[in-house]
């Protein structure tokens, strides 16, 4: 078993979930309507739960306890894609990011539900069922706002254009990519991206939204190896603020 490869896979997934979970929670109290405030708050709670389950697997592989890993690392130690650290922006951008990320997240967990690494299989089987609701929520709003009126369509299209290259950055390959595929642990980022593009396209067509031309596709890589924007630094500072006041406190 290639422990380093598994750890890297778990870290990037857990960090994506922790960071998007934090961003989702920033809508608590500020959502445009009550139901959406509740939806983003609920998804925040789900994402943190999923991150915690993965951090626990990392702890079983010898890493520090979940709270310490989540709240006591500096930004450059995070393996999350830059896409997830970007500020929430307007609701259109948050919805587009939610749609692009959760479609990928669901496909990732669906593929891991048949991984050769048993501990992750069990967690993935559980999580993929919960993610149905996240994708269902995202698809509903993307289609609704894509077609509602001129302004909503234009806003969603602009948000999609802004998000796209960052979203492609989620599929940055690991240096362990070949080993993970050969050992049957993970199908690999390329295969995942192919599935993702297909599903994303199906929904965008229903929403009458268009992907940027393929010649414009320039994936924003770097997050997986610790290169981040200034947005992650302030996010991490805020997220760990209470924990760092008294690291030995028992919650």
């Amino acid at each position: 078993m290639n422990t380093d490869a598994i750890k890297e896979l778990l870290y990037k997934m857990a960090d994506d979930l922790l960071i998007i979970g934090h961003r989702n929670s920033e809508w608590t109290g500020l959502g445009p309507i009550l139901e959406e405030d509740i939806a983003f708050s609920s998804m925040a709670q789900d994402k943190l739960g999923h991150a915690q389950a993965l951090f626990q697997l990392l702890q079983e592989l010898g890493e520090a306890a979940p709270d310490t890993v989540a709240f006591n690392r500096s930004a450059e130690k995070f393996h999350s894609a830059q896409f997830l650290e970007l500020p929430n922006g307007d609701y259109d951008f948050s919805l587009i990011r939610h749609f692009l990320f959760d479609t990928a997240d669901q496909l990732r967990f669906e593929s891991l539900a048949s991984s050769s690494y048993a501990p992750i299989t069990k967690v993935a089987q559980k999580i993929k069922g919960e993610l149905k609701y996240h994708v269902f929520h995202a698809n509903t709003w993307i289609v609704k706002l894509g077609k509602a009126n001129e302004e909503s369509h234009a806003r969603m299209q602009t948000a999609l254009n802004q998000a796209w290259n960052y979203a492609l950055g989620m599929f940055e390959k690991s240096k362990y990519e070949d080993a993970l595929i050969a050992d049957g642990i993970f199908i690999g980022e390329d295969a995942l991206k192919t599935q993702w593009l297909k599903q994303v396209n199906t929904i965008l067509e229903k929403a009458t939204l268009k992907l940027p031309a393929e010649t414009e596709w320039k994936p924003v890589y770097g997050g997986r190896i610790g290169n981040h924007t200034e947005h992650l630094i302030s996010l991490v500072d805020e997220m760990g603020e209470v924990f760092r006041i008294e690291p030995s406190a028992d919650w």
Binding site: D46, A53, K132, Y133, H137
Partner: protein, 161 residues
Amino acid sequence: MFTEAQIWEALEVVKDPEIPTLSMVDMGIITKIEIRDKDTVFVEMTPTFAGCPAIKMMEKSVAERLQEIGIQNPLVVTTFDKPWDSNKITARGLSCLKKHGLAPPIKHVGEITEELLTNVICPFCGSENTELKSPFGPTLCRSLHYCNNCLQAFEGFKPVV
């Protein structure tokens, strides 16, 4: 020494902290009970949702109940070994949900489809003329619905595979 059946029965008084009419046994989240010796009982639980904030509280309630009936060394663990799904709620559990004003989850056949959420039966008037307002409600396991027949908003317990 207790039998396994006695422990199952003893745990029926431990309720779900978010739905106080429903026992954890009927909820289907207790997945295994093992009698190790006269003082040691092992209980395995699994959360309804991975991010369920009540899980630590429920572990504690189970341990306290076991101590109450005289088991000095209760061992309670939470795992995903046998993951929860909504078909694991017992028939009594489903009727408890309804009594609490929550539409019980429709039995799934291995797949959650939109149809399972769109025409949920109203727990107040029994009408199928209802609509989904949001797949997210006041707790992770609930959704929001509206009944066009009795003009009442209600919550549903989500089907989960």
